[in-house]
């Protein structure tokens, strides 16, 4: 009975996650936190595609989150683009950066890859930091207004936090479906074989470099979308979106939630943000708690929260 339910959920994972996310705001103390979980869940999911499924640890994914945010923000603030063009603009820009950085980084493997992605992302950080007239520099980009939208004659007030949550949820669900399709496709199988044993995949005749690059670009596009939505949510783009510590957050969330699982990234994002939020109200040493929790997971629960739950459910 249990296995049948689990398999059913697995096969309809997009629907299951969507159902959960629809009721999610009721479980959070305030909507802005719920939206942050959506956004960072998406960010972690993009990262997870590369790390959990393809096995490539990048420490520079903040670049794509940030570029997505700035892309959308800049066209809306400086060029008055409407939101339905601004969002794709952010995603495309992030994917382009992903293409360039990926192409440069894929020449290296293993630990070098992590170092190179970190350094290249810091490069992006400095470039955006310096371009003050476009990006606002250290002050960040302000003035991203998305207060009312007209959809099919219906006016939706996006200052209302609940409306905003469900509006952004639509994009998240679309991405969930997209990612699910990728993972279920032959491409999805190939990236997992690359994670397991790169040399053998090459021996089987797969173009490893090209596959990795495609995975990298897809991953950066998803993170770019997360960034795009974040810009709309906060109405500002903070420059530290591009800093390597933000890349570190993606890593922590993916691991906390469960790498290589579909729902893991959201669990990880929720766990991480809740720890930050709740712990901050109790003590100012939230970094100590977050770091210690993270280390505990690395040592004892490498499958992450969701991964461990799944494992336990399947092997009880």
């Amino acid at each position: 009975m249990r296995n049948a339910v689990l398999n059913g959920i697995s096969r309809h994972r997009v629907a299951a996650v969507t159902a959960f996310l629809i009721v999610f705001p009721w479980l959070m103390p305030y909507e802005a936190l719920a939206v942050n979980v959506l956004i960072f869940g998406l960010y972690a999911m993009g990262f997870n595609l590369l790390f959990g499924y393809t096995g490539m640890l990048s420490f520079g994914h903040a670049a794509f989150l940030g570029v997505g945010s700035y892309g959308t923000g800049i066209v809306m603030v400086h060029y008055a683009w409407p939101w339905y063009l601004a969002i794709p603009a952010g995603v495309v820009l992030a994917a382009l950066f992903g293409l360039v950085i990926g192409w440069m980084a894929i020449r290296t493997r293993g630990i070098y890859f992590a170092m190179v992605t970190l350094a290249l992302a810091q490069c992006v950080y400095f470039i955006f930091y310096k371009a003050e007239s476009l990006t606002g520099g250290e002050n960040g980009l302000r003035g991203i207004k998305l207060e009312k939208i007209d959809v099919l004659g219906l006016q939706i007030d996006l200052l209302n936090p609940t409306n905003k949550y469900y509006f952004l949820l639509i994009f998240v669900v679309m991405t969930l479906w997209f990612v699910s399709r990728i993972l279920a496709s032959p491409f999805g199988a190939v990236i997992e074989t690359i994670r397991e044993n790169e040399k053998r995949s090459a021996a089987c005749g797969y173009d490893v470099a090209r596959t990795k690059l495609v995975a990298f670009v897809l991953s950066s596009a998803i993170c770019g979308l997360a960034g795009s939505l974040r810009a709309l949510h906060l109405s500002v783009v903070p420059v530290d979106s591009l800093h390597y510590l933000t890349s570190g957050h993606a890593v922590m969330m993916a691991l906390l939630g469960g790498m290589g699982t579909f729902f893991g990234p959201f669990v990880g994002a929720a766990a991480f943000l809740l720890i930050e939020d709740v712990v901050t109200n109790i003590t100012k040493y939230w970094q100590l708690v977050a770091g210690a929790v993270f280390m505990t997971f690395v040592l004892f629960f490498p499958r992450g929260i969701w991964g461990s739950i799944l494992h336990w459910l399947r092997h009880r």
Partner: protein, 292 residues
């Protein structure tokens, strides 16, 4: 306007700057070369070294005593870290120790805040090393000259240790091929333990050496970490001569670009790294194939 004196002075400044990088990346490179572990907490050990040093200085009033105390204390911390936190992760994949040390850096920073406060510790230049000397092209701080000399001494001592002692032989062999070393009956785990301790001890020492010229704050390790990664990548991970050459090179590049193209001083070191990677992905002195 080309001022030769200014250029030379700037280059000497770059060498002093580079000295800190050299010490940091030697530690990082040692740990990676021997254990294949990327120590993301390296900047935190640097910071702890500075704090321990300032504390020792306040207690004993003697800077030289702190220079001895710091590597011992931080080295012990490193030993404990390897034994209890990193060792359980061997065999699990190359990423896990990296992730662990990443979390560890957060913990170390906050613990430092808890014990010493978030504000930062004042430390002046030690008496005897204050003031500036005329080095022919201008006034140069005496302390930075000391830094260059101290680094050279430490590097020389390390070289002697690695080239001329039995343990150094094990380190070199282990960096080449850890499996064979184990097959030969040598207790690799003990060697790894000591190397990790040694690497972190050097990081701590560079922290206290750098303290008089930087602000000693809990966050001081963060920018330093990225810089040391860049240096290690440029020099070649696992290579000691690489760490030395790359450290000085990065210091000089940063110093010169601060003079001529100050707007790009920050990005200059990443540009250097990108160039090296495109031309020689394993770094200047790295071994090709030491990649996964």
């Amino acid at each position: 306007m080309f001022d030769l004196k200014l250029l030379i002075l700037q280059m000497v400044t770059g060498v002093a700057l580079g000295s800190v990088f050299v010490l940091l990346s030697i530690g990082l490179s040692l740990i990676f070369g021997m254990l294949t572990v990327v120590n993301f907490a390296h900047g935190a050990y640097f910071m702890v070294g500075a704090y321990v040093g300032v504390y020792a200085l306040n207690v004993t009033g003697n800077f030289w005593v702190s220079l001895v105390v710091v590597p011992l204390v931080v080295g012990v911390l490193g030993l404990l870290t390897e034994r209890f936190l990193v060792r359980p992760l061997y065999g699990r994949g190359i990423d896990y120790p990296l992730l662990l040390t990443f979390g560890l850096s957060y913990v170390m920073m906050d613990l430092t805040r808890m014990i010493f406060g978030s504000d930062g510790q004042p430390i002046g230049t030690p008496p005897g090393l204050r003031g500036a000397v005329d080095i022919g092209v201008g006034n140069f701080p005496l302390y930075r000259l000391f830094l260059i000399v101290a680094t050279a001494i430490i590097v020389a001592a390390l070289w002697l240790f690695i080239e001329k002692t039995r343990f150094g032989l094990i380190i070199r062999a282990g960096a080449r091929d850890p499996e064979i070393v184990r097959v030969l009956g040598i207790d690799v785990s003990k060697a790894w333990l000591l190397v990790f301790g040694l690497g972190t001890a050097i990081a701590g020492l560079s922290g206290i050496l750098a303290a008089p010229i930087r602000a000693v704050t809990p966050e001081m390790g963060i920018p330093v970490l990225v810089e040391s990664f860049v240096v290690t990548v440029v020099g070649g991970m696992g290579s000691l001569p690489g760490a030395i050459v790359a450290g000085l090179l990065v210091g000089i590049v940063y110093s010169l670009s601060s003079l001529y193209v100050p707007d790009f001083a920050d990005t200059s070191i990443f540009v250097l790294m990108a160039l090296v990677l495109l031309v020689r992905p394993q770094g200047l002195f790295g071994r090709a194939g030491l990649m996964s």
